[in-house]
Protein backbone atom coordinates (compact mmCIF):
# COMPACT_ATOMS: atom_id res chain seq x y z
CA UNK A 1 0.00 0.00 0.00
CA UNK A 2 1.12 3.47 -0.73
CA UNK A 3 1.50 5.72 2.26
CA UNK A 4 -1.63 7.66 3.05
CA UNK A 5 -0.96 11.29 3.66
CA UNK A 6 -3.15 13.10 6.13
CA UNK A 7 -4.72 15.10 3.34
CA UNK A 8 -5.91 12.09 1.44
CA UNK A 9 -7.25 10.69 4.72
CA UNK A 10 -9.31 13.85 5.18
CA UNK A 11 -10.70 13.47 1.67
CA UNK A 12 -11.52 9.82 2.34
CA UNK A 13 -13.30 10.68 5.58
CA UNK A 14 -15.19 13.45 3.83
CA UNK A 15 -16.38 11.08 1.11
CA UNK A 16 -17.18 8.24 3.51
CA UNK A 17 -19.05 10.25 6.11
CA UNK A 18 -20.63 12.47 3.47
CA UNK A 19 -22.07 9.45 1.70
CA UNK A 20 -23.54 8.13 4.93
CA UNK A 21 -25.23 11.47 5.58
CA UNK A 22 -26.51 11.55 2.00
CA UNK A 23 -27.92 8.05 2.32
CA UNK A 24 -29.66 8.97 5.57
CA UNK A 25 -31.15 12.09 3.98
CA UNK A 26 -32.25 10.15 0.90
CA UNK A 27 -33.81 7.53 3.17
CA UNK A 28 -35.65 10.21 5.11
CA UNK A 29 -36.95 11.87 1.94
CA UNK A 30 -37.97 8.57 0.34
CA UNK A 31 -39.72 7.40 3.48
CA UNK A 32 -41.96 10.46 3.44
CA UNK A 33 -43.41 9.45 0.09
CA UNK A 34 -43.74 5.76 0.83
CA UNK A 35 -46.08 3.95 3.21
CA UNK A 36 -44.52 3.05 6.56
CA UNK A 37 -44.91 -0.68 5.98
CA UNK A 38 -42.62 -0.44 2.95
CA UNK A 39 -40.03 2.06 4.08
CA UNK A 40 -40.23 3.40 7.62
CA UNK A 41 -38.33 6.64 8.19
CA UNK A 42 -35.00 6.79 10.02
CA UNK A 43 -36.71 8.28 13.07
CA UNK A 44 -39.23 5.45 13.36
CA UNK A 45 -36.46 2.89 12.97
CA UNK A 46 -34.34 4.65 15.57
CA UNK A 47 -37.30 4.56 17.94
CA UNK A 48 -37.67 0.83 17.35
CA UNK A 49 -33.95 0.38 17.93
CA UNK A 50 -34.26 2.28 21.17
CA UNK A 51 -36.67 -0.40 22.33
CA UNK A 52 -33.69 -2.76 22.45
CA UNK A 53 -32.48 -0.67 25.36
CA UNK A 54 -35.72 0.44 26.98
CA UNK A 55 -38.04 -2.51 26.45
CA UNK A 56 -36.85 -5.42 28.55
CA UNK A 57 -38.70 -8.04 26.52
CA UNK A 58 -37.07 -6.90 23.27
CA UNK A 59 -33.67 -6.58 24.92
CA UNK A 60 -34.04 -10.07 26.33
CA UNK A 61 -34.55 -11.47 22.83
CA UNK A 62 -31.36 -9.83 21.60
CA UNK A 63 -29.42 -11.16 24.58
CA UNK A 64 -30.78 -14.66 24.03
CA UNK A 65 -29.61 -14.59 20.42
CA UNK A 66 -26.19 -13.38 21.44
CA UNK A 67 -25.83 -16.08 24.08
CA UNK A 68 -26.89 -18.76 21.61
CA UNK A 69 -24.44 -17.56 18.96
CA UNK A 70 -21.59 -17.45 21.47
CA UNK A 71 -22.42 -20.91 22.79
CA UNK A 72 -22.66 -22.38 19.28
CA UNK A 73 -19.29 -20.93 18.30
CA UNK A 74 -17.67 -22.41 21.41
CA UNK A 75 -19.27 -25.82 20.86
CA UNK A 76 -18.40 -25.90 17.16
CA UNK A 77 -14.80 -24.81 17.72
CA UNK A 78 -14.30 -27.38 20.47
CA UNK A 79 -15.64 -30.12 18.22
CA UNK A 80 -13.47 -28.91 15.35
CA UNK A 81 -10.41 -28.85 17.58
CA UNK A 82 -11.14 -32.43 18.60
CA UNK A 83 -11.53 -33.52 14.99
CA UNK A 84 -8.34 -31.76 13.90
CA UNK A 85 -6.37 -33.18 16.83
CA UNK A 86 -7.65 -36.66 15.98
CA UNK A 87 -6.53 -36.22 12.38
CA UNK A 88 -3.11 -35.12 13.57
CA UNK A 89 -2.81 -38.07 15.91
CA UNK A 90 -4.00 -40.53 13.26
CA UNK A 91 -3.27 -39.17 9.77
CA UNK A 92 -5.15 -42.09 8.27
CA UNK A 93 -8.35 -40.25 9.23
CA UNK A 94 -7.43 -37.35 6.98
CA UNK A 95 -9.28 -38.59 3.91
CA UNK A 96 -12.38 -39.42 5.93
CA UNK A 97 -12.50 -36.02 7.56
CA UNK A 98 -11.61 -33.96 4.53
CA UNK A 99 -13.35 -35.88 1.79
CA UNK A 100 -16.38 -37.12 3.64
CA UNK A 101 -17.29 -35.25 6.82
CA UNK A 102 -16.15 -31.82 5.69
CA UNK A 103 -17.73 -32.05 2.28
CA UNK A 104 -20.94 -33.37 3.76
CA UNK A 105 -21.19 -30.58 6.31
CA UNK A 106 -20.08 -27.95 3.85
CA UNK A 107 -22.64 -28.89 1.22
CA UNK A 108 -25.56 -29.32 3.59
CA UNK A 109 -28.08 -26.52 3.03
CA UNK A 110 -28.51 -24.53 6.23
CA UNK A 111 -32.27 -24.51 6.04
CA UNK A 112 -32.10 -28.30 5.89
CA UNK A 113 -30.54 -28.39 9.35
CA UNK A 114 -33.17 -25.96 10.54
CA UNK A 115 -36.07 -28.09 9.30
CA UNK A 116 -34.55 -31.37 10.44
CA UNK A 117 -33.65 -29.91 13.82
CA UNK A 118 -37.28 -29.04 14.41
CA UNK A 119 -38.50 -32.41 13.08
CA UNK A 120 -36.10 -34.32 15.33
CA UNK A 121 -36.12 -32.20 18.45
CA UNK A 122 -38.73 -29.91 19.78
CA UNK A 123 -38.72 -26.15 19.51
CA UNK A 124 -36.17 -25.25 22.15
CA UNK A 125 -32.80 -23.64 22.78
CA UNK A 126 -30.85 -26.92 22.37
CA UNK A 127 -32.46 -27.27 18.93
CA UNK A 128 -31.22 -23.81 18.00
CA UNK A 129 -27.74 -24.67 19.27
CA UNK A 130 -27.77 -27.90 17.27
CA UNK A 131 -28.76 -26.09 14.07
CA UNK A 132 -26.24 -23.27 14.51
CA UNK A 133 -23.42 -25.64 15.43
CA UNK A 134 -24.14 -27.84 12.42
CA UNK A 135 -24.06 -24.82 10.11
CA UNK A 136 -20.80 -23.31 11.37
CA UNK A 137 -18.95 -26.55 12.09
CA UNK A 138 -17.39 -26.92 8.61
CA UNK A 139 -15.88 -23.43 8.83
CA UNK A 140 -14.36 -24.29 12.20
CA UNK A 141 -13.00 -27.62 10.97
CA UNK A 142 -11.38 -26.04 7.90
CA UNK A 143 -9.50 -23.55 10.06
CA UNK A 144 -8.57 -26.03 12.76
CA UNK A 145 -7.18 -28.44 10.16
CA UNK A 146 -5.23 -25.66 8.50
CA UNK A 147 -3.84 -24.62 11.87
CA UNK A 148 -2.63 -28.10 12.76
CA UNK A 149 -1.15 -28.55 9.32
CA UNK A 150 0.93 -25.39 9.61
CA UNK A 151 2.63 -26.49 12.80
CA UNK A 152 6.35 -26.44 12.30
CA UNK A 153 7.57 -30.03 12.79
CA UNK A 154 10.77 -28.68 14.35
CA UNK A 155 8.83 -26.86 17.04
CA UNK A 156 6.83 -29.96 17.68
CA UNK A 157 10.04 -31.92 18.11
CA UNK A 158 11.34 -29.28 20.45
CA UNK A 159 8.18 -29.74 22.50
CA UNK A 160 8.75 -33.50 22.53
CA UNK A 161 12.26 -33.04 23.84
CA UNK A 162 11.09 -30.67 26.57
CA UNK A 163 8.25 -32.62 28.07
CA UNK A 164 6.75 -36.08 27.90
CA UNK A 165 3.28 -35.01 28.92
CA UNK A 166 1.02 -34.81 25.85
CA UNK A 167 -1.37 -32.53 27.71
CA UNK A 168 1.39 -30.06 28.51
CA UNK A 169 2.62 -30.21 24.96
CA UNK A 170 -0.89 -29.53 23.71
CA UNK A 171 -1.38 -26.46 25.87
CA UNK A 172 2.17 -25.08 25.67
CA UNK A 173 3.13 -25.84 22.10
CA UNK A 174 0.22 -26.93 19.94
CA UNK A 175 -2.48 -24.57 21.10
CA UNK A 176 -0.38 -21.37 20.84
CA UNK A 177 0.74 -22.46 17.38
CA UNK A 178 -2.79 -23.08 16.09
CA UNK A 179 -4.25 -20.10 17.95
CA UNK A 180 -4.07 -17.71 14.96
CA UNK A 181 -6.02 -20.17 12.85
CA UNK A 182 -8.50 -20.83 15.62
CA UNK A 183 -9.08 -17.11 16.03
CA UNK A 184 -9.58 -16.73 12.29
CA UNK A 185 -11.99 -19.64 12.39
CA UNK A 186 -13.87 -18.19 15.33
CA UNK A 187 -14.25 -14.87 13.55
CA UNK A 188 -15.60 -16.51 10.41
CA UNK A 189 -17.89 -18.83 12.35
CA UNK A 190 -19.16 -15.99 14.50
CA UNK A 191 -20.01 -13.98 11.41
CA UNK A 192 -21.71 -16.91 9.66
CA UNK A 193 -23.64 -17.61 12.81
CA UNK A 194 -25.15 -14.13 12.91
CA UNK A 195 -25.66 -13.93 9.19
CA UNK A 196 -26.88 -17.35 8.17
CA UNK A 197 -27.39 -19.52 11.21
CA UNK A 198 -29.94 -17.11 12.64
CA UNK A 199 -32.37 -18.97 10.41
CA UNK A 200 -32.50 -21.48 13.25
CA UNK A 201 -34.49 -19.00 15.29
CA UNK A 202 -37.08 -18.63 12.56
CA UNK A 203 -38.01 -22.28 12.97
CA UNK A 204 -36.70 -23.60 16.21
CA UNK A 205 -37.27 -20.92 18.79
CA UNK A 206 -39.89 -18.85 20.51
CA UNK A 207 -37.35 -16.20 21.50
CA UNK A 208 -34.37 -14.42 20.01
CA UNK A 209 -33.84 -11.93 17.20
CA UNK A 210 -34.98 -14.38 14.53
CA UNK A 211 -38.23 -14.84 16.37
CA UNK A 212 -38.55 -11.07 16.75
CA UNK A 213 -37.98 -10.60 13.02
CA UNK A 214 -40.60 -13.22 12.23
CA UNK A 215 -43.11 -11.56 14.53
CA UNK A 216 -42.43 -8.10 13.12
CA UNK A 217 -42.83 -9.45 9.60
CA UNK A 218 -46.20 -11.06 10.34
CA UNK A 219 -47.52 -7.87 11.92
CA UNK A 220 -46.10 -5.72 9.07
CA UNK A 221 -44.03 -3.79 11.61
CA UNK A 222 -41.44 -2.69 9.05
CA UNK A 223 -39.72 -0.37 11.52
CA UNK A 224 -39.03 -3.34 13.76
CA UNK A 225 -37.72 -5.43 10.84
CA UNK A 226 -35.29 -2.60 10.03
CA UNK A 227 -34.38 -2.22 13.67
CA UNK A 228 -33.63 -5.94 14.06
CA UNK A 229 -31.38 -5.88 10.99
CA UNK A 230 -29.49 -2.85 12.25
CA UNK A 231 -29.21 -4.22 15.77
CA UNK A 232 -27.59 -7.34 14.34
CA UNK A 233 -25.14 -5.13 12.44
CA UNK A 234 -24.39 -3.18 15.63
CA UNK A 235 -23.92 -6.26 17.82
CA UNK A 236 -21.75 -8.02 15.27
CA UNK A 237 -19.62 -4.96 14.53
CA UNK A 238 -19.11 -4.06 18.18
CA UNK A 239 -18.16 -7.57 19.27
CA UNK A 240 -15.91 -8.06 16.26
CA UNK A 241 -14.06 -4.79 16.77
CA UNK A 242 -13.88 -4.84 20.53
CA UNK A 243 -13.31 -8.52 21.14
CA UNK A 244 -12.47 -10.75 18.19
CA UNK A 245 -10.24 -8.44 16.17
CA UNK A 246 -7.99 -7.53 19.14
CA UNK A 247 -7.81 -11.20 20.08
CA UNK A 248 -6.92 -12.20 16.53
CA UNK A 249 -4.26 -9.50 16.39
CA UNK A 250 -2.87 -10.57 19.76
CA UNK A 251 -2.55 -14.19 18.80
CA UNK A 252 -1.10 -13.55 15.38
CA UNK A 253 1.93 -11.88 16.98
CA UNK A 254 3.15 -15.26 18.16
CA UNK A 255 3.48 -16.52 14.65
CA UNK A 256 3.48 -15.55 11.03
CA UNK A 257 5.21 -12.20 11.49
CA UNK A 258 8.07 -11.83 9.13
CA UNK A 259 11.25 -10.82 10.84
Amino acid sequence: MRETSSRSMIVQHFVAEGTIVLVLVAWWVASRNLPAYVLPGPVAVAQSMARFVTDSEVAFNALVSFARVAASVVIAMTLALGVAAAVRAAPILNATVERRILIFLNSFPSVGWAILGVVWFKISTPTVLFIQTAIILPFCIINALAGFRQIDPDLNELGLSLTRSPLRRFFKVTLPLVAPFLMAGIRVAYGICWKIALVSELFGASSGLGYLLMRAQSTSDAAMVFACCLVIVVIYTLTDYLLLKPLAARFSINQGQET
Partner: protein, 265 residues
Protein backbone atom coordinates in the same frame (compact mmCIF):
# COMPACT_ATOMS: atom_id res chain seq x y z
CA UNK B 1 -3.80 -33.22 -18.45
CA UNK B 2 -1.72 -33.41 -21.52
CA UNK B 3 1.19 -31.33 -20.42
CA UNK B 4 4.36 -32.75 -18.99
CA UNK B 5 3.50 -31.60 -15.52
CA UNK B 6 1.03 -34.40 -15.01
CA UNK B 7 3.90 -36.56 -13.89
CA UNK B 8 4.23 -34.30 -10.87
CA UNK B 9 0.84 -35.46 -9.58
CA UNK B 10 1.46 -37.91 -6.80
CA UNK B 11 -2.24 -38.59 -6.10
CA UNK B 12 -3.00 -40.96 -8.94
CA UNK B 13 -0.97 -44.06 -8.05
CA UNK B 14 -2.00 -43.82 -4.39
CA UNK B 15 -5.69 -43.68 -5.23
CA UNK B 16 -6.55 -46.55 -2.89
CA UNK B 17 -4.38 -45.77 0.08
CA UNK B 18 -5.46 -46.86 3.54
CA UNK B 19 -6.96 -43.47 4.20
CA UNK B 20 -9.15 -43.71 1.12
CA UNK B 21 -10.29 -47.17 2.09
CA UNK B 22 -11.21 -45.81 5.50
CA UNK B 23 -13.11 -42.95 3.86
CA UNK B 24 -15.11 -45.38 1.74
CA UNK B 25 -15.76 -47.56 4.76
CA UNK B 26 -16.97 -44.45 6.54
CA UNK B 27 -19.46 -43.75 3.74
CA UNK B 28 -20.74 -47.30 3.84
CA UNK B 29 -20.91 -47.25 7.62
CA UNK B 30 -22.77 -43.96 7.56
CA UNK B 31 -25.42 -45.24 5.17
CA UNK B 32 -25.70 -48.50 7.13
CA UNK B 33 -26.17 -46.56 10.36
CA UNK B 34 -28.78 -44.39 8.68
CA UNK B 35 -30.59 -47.51 7.45
CA UNK B 36 -30.35 -49.22 10.82
CA UNK B 37 -31.59 -46.22 12.71
CA UNK B 38 -34.45 -45.66 10.27
CA UNK B 39 -35.69 -49.16 11.08
CA UNK B 40 -36.41 -48.23 14.69
CA UNK B 41 -37.53 -44.64 14.11
CA UNK B 42 -40.85 -43.69 12.50
CA UNK B 43 -40.48 -42.71 8.86
CA UNK B 44 -41.79 -39.20 9.38
CA UNK B 45 -38.74 -38.52 11.56
CA UNK B 46 -36.11 -40.40 9.59
CA UNK B 47 -36.98 -42.09 6.31
CA UNK B 48 -34.53 -44.80 5.26
CA UNK B 49 -31.98 -44.37 2.45
CA UNK B 50 -34.07 -46.52 0.12
CA UNK B 51 -37.21 -44.41 0.50
CA UNK B 52 -35.18 -41.25 -0.03
CA UNK B 53 -33.51 -42.68 -3.13
CA UNK B 54 -36.91 -43.59 -4.54
CA UNK B 55 -38.15 -40.09 -3.84
CA UNK B 56 -35.12 -38.57 -5.60
CA UNK B 57 -35.83 -40.68 -8.67
CA UNK B 58 -39.48 -39.67 -8.70
CA UNK B 59 -38.37 -36.09 -8.14
CA UNK B 60 -36.12 -36.22 -11.18
CA UNK B 61 -38.77 -37.78 -13.39
CA UNK B 62 -41.41 -35.21 -12.51
CA UNK B 63 -41.15 -32.35 -14.98
CA UNK B 64 -42.91 -29.96 -12.60
CA UNK B 65 -40.41 -30.52 -9.84
CA UNK B 66 -37.52 -30.42 -12.27
CA UNK B 67 -38.74 -27.00 -13.36
CA UNK B 68 -38.53 -25.84 -9.73
CA UNK B 69 -34.98 -27.15 -9.58
CA UNK B 70 -34.11 -25.23 -12.74
CA UNK B 71 -35.63 -22.14 -11.16
CA UNK B 72 -33.42 -22.51 -8.08
CA UNK B 73 -30.41 -22.96 -10.31
CA UNK B 74 -31.36 -19.78 -12.16
CA UNK B 75 -31.70 -17.89 -8.85
CA UNK B 76 -28.26 -19.04 -7.76
CA UNK B 77 -26.57 -18.31 -11.09
CA UNK B 78 -28.02 -14.83 -11.43
CA UNK B 79 -27.18 -13.97 -7.83
CA UNK B 80 -23.59 -15.21 -8.16
CA UNK B 81 -23.10 -13.30 -11.42
CA UNK B 82 -24.61 -10.10 -10.01
CA UNK B 83 -22.59 -10.34 -6.79
CA UNK B 84 -19.43 -11.01 -8.77
CA UNK B 85 -19.92 -7.96 -10.96
CA UNK B 86 -20.81 -5.62 -8.09
CA UNK B 87 -18.15 -7.07 -5.80
CA UNK B 88 -15.37 -6.72 -8.37
CA UNK B 89 -16.52 -3.23 -9.23
CA UNK B 90 -16.51 -2.10 -5.61
CA UNK B 91 -13.16 -3.73 -4.88
CA UNK B 92 -11.61 -2.14 -7.96
CA UNK B 93 -13.05 1.26 -7.01
CA UNK B 94 -11.59 0.95 -3.53
CA UNK B 95 -8.21 0.06 -4.97
CA UNK B 96 -7.94 2.55 -7.80
CA UNK B 97 -9.96 5.52 -6.53
CA UNK B 98 -8.31 6.44 -3.21
CA UNK B 99 -10.97 8.96 -2.09
CA UNK B 100 -13.54 6.13 -2.10
CA UNK B 101 -11.29 3.75 -0.18
CA UNK B 102 -12.52 4.48 3.32
CA UNK B 103 -16.13 4.54 2.17
CA UNK B 104 -15.87 1.06 0.65
CA UNK B 105 -13.32 -0.61 2.92
CA UNK B 106 -14.23 1.09 6.14
CA UNK B 107 -17.97 1.64 5.86
CA UNK B 108 -19.74 -0.27 3.12
CA UNK B 109 -17.98 -3.65 3.31
CA UNK B 110 -18.17 -3.98 7.11
CA UNK B 111 -21.82 -2.96 6.94
CA UNK B 112 -22.69 -5.49 4.24
CA UNK B 113 -20.55 -8.06 5.98
CA UNK B 114 -22.39 -7.59 9.25
CA UNK B 115 -25.84 -7.57 7.70
CA UNK B 116 -27.79 -10.71 8.32
CA UNK B 117 -28.98 -12.86 5.42
CA UNK B 118 -32.34 -13.11 7.07
CA UNK B 119 -32.42 -9.35 7.40
CA UNK B 120 -32.00 -8.87 3.65
CA UNK B 121 -34.57 -11.53 3.04
CA UNK B 122 -37.21 -9.95 5.24
CA UNK B 123 -36.51 -6.48 3.85
CA UNK B 124 -36.77 -7.82 0.31
CA UNK B 125 -40.07 -9.44 1.22
CA UNK B 126 -41.36 -6.08 2.43
CA UNK B 127 -40.18 -4.30 -0.67
CA UNK B 128 -40.77 -6.74 -3.52
CA UNK B 129 -43.27 -9.26 -2.21
CA UNK B 130 -42.86 -12.98 -2.67
CA UNK B 131 -41.16 -13.64 -5.98
CA UNK B 132 -37.93 -14.52 -7.69
CA UNK B 133 -36.58 -11.00 -7.48
CA UNK B 134 -36.77 -11.13 -3.69
CA UNK B 135 -34.76 -14.34 -3.67
CA UNK B 136 -32.13 -13.04 -6.07
CA UNK B 137 -31.87 -9.71 -4.25
CA UNK B 138 -31.36 -11.35 -0.87
CA UNK B 139 -28.79 -13.87 -2.10
CA UNK B 140 -26.88 -11.26 -4.10
CA UNK B 141 -26.55 -8.93 -1.14
CA UNK B 142 -25.26 -11.74 1.03
CA UNK B 143 -22.65 -12.70 -1.55
CA UNK B 144 -21.36 -9.20 -2.32
CA UNK B 145 -19.20 -8.78 0.83
CA UNK B 146 -17.58 -12.20 0.27
CA UNK B 147 -16.67 -11.16 -3.27
CA UNK B 148 -15.40 -7.72 -2.23
CA UNK B 149 -13.20 -9.20 0.49
CA UNK B 150 -11.71 -11.85 -1.80
CA UNK B 151 -10.99 -9.51 -4.68
CA UNK B 152 -9.75 -6.79 -2.35
CA UNK B 153 -7.29 -9.21 -0.76
CA UNK B 154 -6.10 -10.17 -4.20
CA UNK B 155 -5.58 -6.54 -5.18
CA UNK B 156 -3.69 -5.82 -1.97
CA UNK B 157 -1.42 -8.81 -2.34
CA UNK B 158 -0.54 -7.95 -5.91
CA UNK B 159 3.18 -8.08 -6.20
CA UNK B 160 4.31 -4.48 -6.35
CA UNK B 161 7.45 -5.36 -8.24
CA UNK B 162 5.55 -7.19 -10.92
CA UNK B 163 3.26 -4.20 -11.37
CA UNK B 164 6.31 -1.98 -11.66
CA UNK B 165 7.80 -4.35 -14.17
CA UNK B 166 4.55 -4.10 -16.11
CA UNK B 167 4.69 -0.35 -15.99
CA UNK B 168 8.21 -0.35 -17.29
CA UNK B 169 7.20 -2.65 -20.14
CA UNK B 170 4.09 -0.86 -21.22
CA UNK B 171 2.57 2.54 -20.61
CA UNK B 172 -0.95 1.47 -21.40
CA UNK B 173 -2.92 0.84 -18.22
CA UNK B 174 -5.25 -1.40 -20.19
CA UNK B 175 -2.36 -3.62 -21.19
CA UNK B 176 -0.98 -3.84 -17.66
CA UNK B 177 -4.48 -4.68 -16.47
CA UNK B 178 -5.14 -7.48 -18.93
CA UNK B 179 -1.59 -8.85 -19.04
CA UNK B 180 -0.57 -8.60 -15.38
CA UNK B 181 -3.25 -7.53 -12.91
CA UNK B 182 -6.10 -9.78 -14.05
CA UNK B 183 -3.96 -12.91 -14.52
CA UNK B 184 -2.49 -12.37 -11.04
CA UNK B 185 -6.00 -11.94 -9.66
CA UNK B 186 -7.37 -15.11 -11.20
CA UNK B 187 -6.86 -17.28 -8.08
CA UNK B 188 -8.69 -14.69 -5.98
CA UNK B 189 -11.49 -14.26 -8.48
CA UNK B 190 -11.86 -18.00 -8.59
CA UNK B 191 -11.87 -18.20 -4.80
CA UNK B 192 -14.60 -15.56 -4.78
CA UNK B 193 -16.72 -17.57 -7.19
CA UNK B 194 -16.13 -20.82 -5.36
CA UNK B 195 -16.99 -19.20 -2.06
CA UNK B 196 -20.11 -17.62 -3.56
CA UNK B 197 -21.26 -20.94 -4.94
CA UNK B 198 -21.00 -22.59 -1.55
CA UNK B 199 -22.68 -19.80 0.36
CA UNK B 200 -25.41 -19.27 -2.23
CA UNK B 201 -26.65 -22.85 -1.97
CA UNK B 202 -26.70 -22.53 1.77
CA UNK B 203 -28.83 -19.43 1.59
CA UNK B 204 -30.97 -19.77 -1.50
CA UNK B 205 -33.22 -22.45 -0.01
CA UNK B 206 -33.90 -20.23 3.00
CA UNK B 207 -34.70 -17.34 0.72
CA UNK B 208 -37.03 -19.43 -1.43
CA UNK B 209 -38.66 -21.00 1.60
CA UNK B 210 -39.68 -17.66 3.08
CA UNK B 211 -39.68 -15.21 0.24
CA UNK B 212 -40.08 -17.21 -2.93
CA UNK B 213 -42.97 -18.30 -5.07
CA UNK B 214 -41.00 -21.12 -6.65
CA UNK B 215 -37.82 -23.12 -6.50
CA UNK B 216 -36.64 -26.02 -4.42
CA UNK B 217 -36.94 -24.03 -1.19
CA UNK B 218 -40.60 -23.47 -1.97
CA UNK B 219 -41.08 -27.24 -2.39
CA UNK B 220 -39.24 -27.69 0.90
CA UNK B 221 -41.74 -25.42 2.60
CA UNK B 222 -44.72 -27.38 1.25
CA UNK B 223 -43.11 -30.64 2.32
CA UNK B 224 -42.44 -29.18 5.75
CA UNK B 225 -46.05 -28.16 6.22
CA UNK B 226 -47.25 -31.61 5.18
CA UNK B 227 -44.67 -33.39 7.37
CA UNK B 228 -43.44 -35.01 4.17
CA UNK B 229 -40.02 -35.90 5.56
CA UNK B 230 -39.19 -38.10 2.58
CA UNK B 231 -39.35 -35.12 0.27
CA UNK B 232 -37.35 -33.00 2.71
CA UNK B 233 -34.63 -35.65 2.82
CA UNK B 234 -34.77 -36.15 -0.92
CA UNK B 235 -34.28 -32.43 -1.56
CA UNK B 236 -31.47 -32.10 0.96
CA UNK B 237 -29.72 -35.22 -0.37
CA UNK B 238 -30.12 -34.03 -3.91
CA UNK B 239 -28.64 -30.61 -3.11
CA UNK B 240 -25.78 -32.31 -1.28
CA UNK B 241 -25.01 -34.52 -4.26
CA UNK B 242 -25.31 -31.61 -6.64
CA UNK B 243 -22.96 -29.35 -4.66
CA UNK B 244 -20.42 -32.13 -4.14
CA UNK B 245 -20.61 -32.98 -7.83
CA UNK B 246 -19.99 -29.36 -8.81
CA UNK B 247 -17.11 -29.24 -6.35
CA UNK B 248 -15.41 -32.32 -7.78
CA UNK B 249 -16.19 -31.88 -11.44
CA UNK B 250 -15.84 -28.13 -11.70
CA UNK B 251 -14.04 -26.42 -8.83
CA UNK B 252 -11.41 -28.96 -7.76
CA UNK B 253 -9.90 -29.50 -11.23
CA UNK B 254 -9.77 -25.75 -11.84
CA UNK B 255 -8.23 -25.18 -8.41
CA UNK B 256 -5.60 -27.82 -9.11
CA UNK B 257 -4.83 -26.18 -12.42
CA UNK B 258 -4.53 -22.80 -10.71
CA UNK B 259 -2.34 -24.19 -7.93
CA UNK B 260 -0.05 -25.66 -10.54
CA UNK B 261 0.26 -22.51 -12.60
CA UNK B 262 0.47 -20.11 -9.66
CA UNK B 263 2.15 -22.18 -6.98
CA UNK B 264 5.43 -22.61 -8.79
CA UNK B 265 6.40 -18.97 -8.91
Amino acid sequence: MTDARSEALPQKPRAWSKGTVLAHLFTVGFIAAWWGYSQIIPAYQLPGPWLVAERIVSFLSDSDELAQLALSLAHVSIAIAAAFVFGCLLAALAHYVPPLRLLIDGRLTPFLNAFSAIGWLFLAMLWFGLDSFTVIFAVTLILIPFTIINVRTGLQELDGELIELGRSLSRSPFRTATKIVIPLLVPYLFAALRNSFGVSWKVVLTAELFGGSGGVGFLLNIARQQFDTETIFAIITFILIFVVFAEFVLFRPIQRQLDRSFGRA
